[in-house]
Symmetry: C2
Subunit: 309 residues, 2 copies
């Protein structure tokens, strides 16, 4: 558990790079920005519901990827923070809606009751809608020192990552495949590259778009993101098999109960670990051309396979 105290660290890329300190520093900055992002007003219940899930913890990986990519390409944290917050609002929306009884029907998320268990299904649906819509308003209203053309590209990419071309499409195929035992690896890749990968890719790409990155750079960032996205999912699947509920903060073994096809069920645990490691290595290689500046994003890639929860 990383402390939420104000960080003393000034984690900089370099030979002594301290990933733990870096993640703690960034997570604290993101938490502070998120805390300010949704003031509570009438009707309080919906703002409370949005804040309940938005402030329920988590690694804040998407915002941190956005900030890190923006900095890699010469941008600042300040430029990227509204987009970083918008990414977390969108991610939170997807969790709230995925947990609904009509979807995955989860009672717990990050060790706390899910949104609909606290506020009711109606408010949970609306809290998701509200977070999604507000993310777009927020990124436009709060971003400074970014060219309008570039900010428009960020908006379009965020939309693309959530719509049927992104996480909505992934969730649909995931629901369709539930209980089926003859799912191939292509379908599993489709589910995860859309359900999880699309927003991770948008997190990295938006950090690049804010700085006006060229096409070649954006393609490199996409490949980095696709690799870590898939690795992330494989590790998630492995952890679902090997972890207990206390560590995960959600119901473990749930994929198995729901008879979901996972990477370990297709490949076994050992091959799944190897594949994840190969993807992480490829992701790191994509950014080798940036030298020391790439250390944070490379270390984040490594962290994905090393994590235990």
């Amino acid at each position: 558990m990383i402390s939420a105290q104000s960080p003393q660290v000034q984690a900089k890329p370099g030979p002594d790079f301290n990933l733990r300190g870096y993640l703690e520093e960034r997570r604290t900055l993101v938490e502070a920005a998120l805390e300010q992002s949704i003031p509570v007003t009438y009707p309080e219940k919906i703002y409370d519901a949005m804040r309940y899930s938005l402030m329920a913890g988590g690694k804040r990986l998407r915002p941190i990827l956005c900030l890190a990519t923006c900095e890699l390409l010469g941008g600042t944290i300040a430029m990227a923070m509204p987009t970083a917050c918008a990414l977390e609002m969108i991610h939170t929306m997807s969790l709230i809606h995925d947990d609904l009884p009509a979807m995955d029907n989860d009672d717990y998320r990050r060790g706390k009751l899910t949104n609909h268990k606290v506020y009711g299904e109606d408010i949970a649906i609306l809290a998701g809608d509200g977070l999604l819509a507000y993310a777009f308003e927020y990124v436009v209203e709060k971003t400074e020192n970014v060219a309008p053309e570039q900010l428009l590209k960020v908006v379009a990419r965020l939309g693309h990552a959530v719509a049927a071309t992104g996480l909505v499409g992934g969730q649909v195929v995931d629901l369709e495949c539930e209980g089926l035992s003859n799912i191939g690896v292509e379908t599993l890749h489709f589910i995860h590259s859309h359900k999880t990968g699309a927003l991770l890719e948008a997190s990295v790409l938006s950090g690049g778009l804010l700085t006006g990155a060229d096409k070649e750079t954006l393609q490199r960032l996409s490949r980095y993101a696709a690799n870590i996205g898939l690795a992330f999912q494989i590790v998630d699947d492995i952890l679902d098999v090997t972890s207990t509920r206390d560590v995960l903060g959600k119901t473990a073994g749930k994929d198995l109960q729901a008879q979901k096809i996972t990477y370990p069920s297709l490949w076994g645990i050992e091959k799944s670990r190897q594949e994840a490691q190969g993807l992480v290595d490829a992701a790191k290689d994509e950014l080798a051309c940036y030298g020391e500046r790439a250390i944070p994003l490379q270390a984040i890639a490594g962290y994905i396979t090393a994590r235990t929860h």
Copy 2:
């Protein structure tokens, strides 16, 4: 029932203005653009579900308001059409989610089965999410010949109109008030100015923003929109009491069954009609300074109180 055939009319503002022909012409243009807006690809089910509700008819009032306002201020239909489509996608999302069992639990909408009755609750939730996210991508990707700064303002306004500051906030208060008999007119105004009014206002304002309208113009457009929005809701409430299901295409008398407070229940039918007429007259007056160019928007205002379904 207005025909969906390609229009022969070239309805122009002027003394001989033909509102029926104008609405038919614009509705046909909007239908054609919407038809093209969502191509079907894998996974087909979610695209089918989005298209099912998006192409389920309706007056296309929000898109038409956006186009008309853009033209009033010297812009073109082509400039505004992507925003017009995005407004209809957002409106459709709100209908799909409002109809869900956890919300208003409606089986019929515009004479057809509601989205979740056809595709299931899970897909209906995701179809709404998909439409909302895609609306933002679509407006950015498809809009041409508009200054990026102005397009960003359109994006922010769309987000504001849906979030807790707009229709989500209105729906929350509406749900909270269900079954309560001591709701005052201020609360009823809040519900409708948010649940219905916010997106109507965004329809009109976005048409203005696309042309780079100044602050004074935008304020005038806001007042026009607020007046027609409230008038629209009052007439809806009256029609719920006086119409039958065959005409409305939805379950009539539903407000009464659900014990919802409405304008007729607060004021009676006659005073409600008078209030709606007063609001329409005020809306028309706001645009008097534009002379003949304002005739379409003024006629649309008049149409709201004259409509019978």
